[in-house]
Amino acid sequence: VTRATPAIPVGADGTPLFELPAELAIDTDVARRVIGGFVRGQLRQAGWERAVVGLSGGIDSALVAYLVAEAIGPERLRCVLMPYSSSSPASRADAETVVADLGCASEVVEISPMVDGFFGTGEVAGAAGPEGLAASPLRRGNFAARMRMAVLYDRSVTWGGLVVGTGNKTESLIGYTTLFGDSACAFNPIGDLYKSQVRQVAAAIGVPEQVIRKAPSADLWPGQTDEAEAGFSYPELDRLLFWRIDKRRSVEEVVALGFDAALVERVDRMVATSEFKRQVPPIAKLGPRTAGVDYLYPRRRPGSARG
């Protein structure tokens, strides 16, 4: 039995909220069901009851906040907004809308002093020395992501909650993440959902329309968008990754499906060069039993839960 693909959700003005390639359509009820059980299971097995989510104002972290609230109740969720001085005010407003809608605990931690304290501001050098004043946007973006990680892990202690990851499958596969930055978490409920699938679940669970509609952005500098920076659209990229990886199609086969050969080659390279970001660092094998090699235990087992 093949069910008809559901209509793409429409916004208040009656136009579609997003573009949805047919092969990426999922049953959002089943997705929410699985994710809810996953979130509860991760917390219970670790002996924790609460969760911390870093909320950027974008769709990924908003969706995670809604999913966690649905799974364990908003009273057990704390959202942390961590803007930098150049972050878009609209992002912060969107994050505040999400917090208000969910009714969860929240706080704002400005990371500007942390980032500026390292790179310096104006002509005053920071901890990085004079050279830091000329740091590239990439270095600054990575550093900001790692400062946010540090804040979240501190709040993990003060709030008594596990840090929930907010990275999606698309950005993970192409390596559009900061190692030990935005990718750091205790567990990730949406890391196996492509961006197009994040949008479907977001629409189903009630993420505000303006959050779903706006162009995805790492918000590292004003006006930045993922798609302009990377040079392709998410629906196209999601489809390509779906056929190449999930459906194991060869380069020749996806080109025959209509993908541009140069795009295929470029995306393949991005996936290959970011392999290290998706794995635990290797340990030099020396002793008889080595973690991850031949010492293989579940993360959570009797005795491993806190308390």
């Binding site: 039995v1 093949t2 069910r3 693909t5 559901p6 359509a25 999922i26 049953d27 009820d29 089943v30 997705a31 069901r33 699985v34 059980g37 996953f38 509860r40 299971g41 991760q42 097995q45 699938q197 010492y295 293989l296 235990y297 579940p298 993360r299 959570r300 087992r301 009797p302």
Partner: protein, 348 residues
Amino acid sequence: VQPLRIALAQVAPRLGDLESNLARHHELLGQARDGGAGLVVFPELGLTGYQLQDLAAEVAMRLDDPRLSRLASATTGLSAVVSFVEESGDHRLFIAAALLEDGEVRHVHRKLYLPTYGLFDERRFFSPGDVLRAVPSRLGVGVGLGICEDFWHVSTPQILALDGAQVLVNVSSSPGRDLAMSSEVGLGTASSWRTLMRTYAQLTTSFVVFCNRVGVDESISFWGGSEVIGPGGGSVFSAPMFDEGLFLVDVDLADVRRERIALPLLRDERPELVSREWRRLIAERAGLAPDSTAEEGAEDGLDVAAGAAPGRPIGFRGAGGGSSAPAGPAGPPERAAPAKARPKAGAA
């Protein structure tokens, strides 16, 4: 009319926590008994959890383990299928399912097919069983046990039915995956299982009892959806997906007779034909007989003939009949002439 009330214990075991899972089994056996059940089925590794890895050796039980005996002694007037890690006398570990009846361990099935691909890594930690038998049961019919992947091999339910099983029990820890709108129930795994269980019930004209766990081990969510399928291939009961629970299902075992009289598929099976052809296949795959579907010129046991590939593949004899004339790095590769006569293995 041979009424039977089946209890499907769709539980979420705690990973590696044998004592708490044992307690839960005792509790549910009691509830099932109070509910009038005659057969209680627990999922694969319901006593230990699934994603054990190196914990497998730490939760293993021998068949003489007193904890297993105590569980068996809770089955007076009942049949129950429970699953755990079994350690043999020579210290191999098996994924096992036991039929407990009237206080005894009546039968033990060791998982035959250990998936070691994709998200599965079972062969790394477990040994495969070597025995497939149906067993007479206090229910008055033969029972056949299979564990998860065992039922992804079509011979398993067929052999069990031919061996006398009228109720096929599959206990599973099936990880949910392949979320897709194109699937019947939104989950590719669930759709595949539903198709298979209906097909086996119809082809073996037997009841199929499928008990799949719920809950989460590490990354994996188990989808439940346990079912009882009648011997005509129709669903008698489908448990909800993902919900834990003890589900009671009434069946009439006399349906098996009616179905087999009307549709005598089992009567018409040809085990001697199947056996003969399998023996031929086994010999061909072992290189002990010519393979009718291999390329011309292929050595017995290999289905592709040596071609004009550079270098001389190891194990292929050239026109010289086994003389080794290695192609030098600069020399052109010699094409091995197809061997017309098929030399027996070891002949030079």
